[in-house]
């Protein structure tokens, strides 16, 4: 069940990169997952759904981007920071 460890680390990275609005403003966490990364995508999605729906997050959802190779990285965050449109 190492997907839970990975999900915890993904949440740590998301929290650290959320910016001034903080983790509660994160709407989506995009993660690139390689087919050789040793990660079971459905299990990782499940773990992330649980963690991202709890404080310090508000109602963020995961988006897994499947790729060839062994990549495993947080690609980007979508954040609703409450500011008006540019």
């Amino acid at each position: 069940m190492h997907e839970l460890s990975l999900a915890n680390e993904i949440c740590r990275i998301a929290e650290a990169n959320a910016g001034p609005a903080g983790p509660a403003a994160v709407r989506q966490v995009a993660v690139e997952v390689g087919d050789q990364s040793g990660v079971e995508p459905e299990s990782l999605t499940f773990c992330l759904e649980v963690l991202l729906s709890q404080p310090p997050f508000g109602s963020a959802t995961p988006r897994l981007i499947r790729q060839p190779g062994d990549v495993l990285r947080v690609s980007y965050l979508e954040v609703d920071d409450g500011r008006p449109d540019d």
Binding site: M1, H2, S5, L6, E9, I10, R12, I13, A14, N17, A18, G19, R27, V31, Q36, S37, G38, V39, D70, L72, R73, V74, S75, Y76, L77, E78, V79, D80, D81, G82, R83, P84, D85, D86
Partner: protein, 222 residues
């Protein structure tokens, strides 16, 4: 209101890799090699270590960090066969060791008087492949009571390992196991994999294995 995109592009394992680098630096500072033993449960990691400690414990100081999911049984078994340090990590359910656990365990190891550190990982051929522990090399064990296709089923672990031990070869006359096929499968996923063939029970093959452990300790010293 706008939803903004923040580029992150950060490796999920980045923090673990930093800690693994710390482990590597600490080992290098004391010129100590570390072998990370990985296998499925029941392949014989603990027994191979018991026999290794018995044979080499007289003239090498071998430290062992064991990772057990819920008990300290492996550490207790090893402690019976050696008065060398055995540092147990009970993972409390986790399926692998990570670099932070190894770094913490190393605090209790007197590296200045240690020749080589064995890490006995949690029995699992999937998860430990993803965690760099700062080891010199991973050694993957499997046994003749398992399938010849184990390397094909768990390619990441066999690719990440530099050495392989095929254990329980005393059982070869009794089980339908094609040794050549197993080695071919392993070399399909990792052509550079170097093999040892052992029976921790009868001692067959342990001379070669122990000579290898000595070489590892010596090359780290030089």
């Amino acid at each position: 209101m706008a939803v903004r995109t923040i580029d992150v592009r950060e490796k999920v394992m980045a923090r673990n890799d930093e800690l693994a680098t710390e482990v590597r630096q600490r080992l290098a500072q004391h010129r100590v090699a570390a072998l990370n033993l990985v296998s499925a449960p029941g392949s014989g990691k603990t027994m191979l270590l018991e026999r290794t400690l018995e044979r080499l414990g007289g003239d090498l100081t071998l430290a062992v960090i064991t990772g057990d999911v819920q008990t300290q049984n492996d550490a207790d078994r090893l402690a019976r066969h050696t008065d060398q340090l055995v540092q147990a990590v009970v993972t409390g359910g986790a399926c692998h060791l990570d670099a932070r656990q190894v770094l913490t365990a190393l605090d209790a190891v007197d590296l200045a008087s240690t020749d080589l550190v064995f890490v006995e990982n949690v029995g699992n051929l999937v998860c430990p492949a993803s965690w760099d522990l700062g080891e010199t090399a991973k050694v993957v064990l499997f046994s003749v009571t398992e399938g010849e296709d184990k390397p094909l089923k768990y390619p990441k672990m066999f690719r990440q390992s530099r050495y392989a031990v095929l254990n329980k070869i005393d059982l070869l006359p009794h089980v339908p196991f094609d040794l050549d096929l197993a080695v071919r499968h392993a070399h399909t996923v990792n052509p550079a994999l170097e093999f040892f063939f052992t029976s921790a029970l009868t001692g067959e093959g342990l001379d070669d294995w122990c000579a290898f452990v000595r070489r590892c300790a010596r090359s780290a010293r030089n």
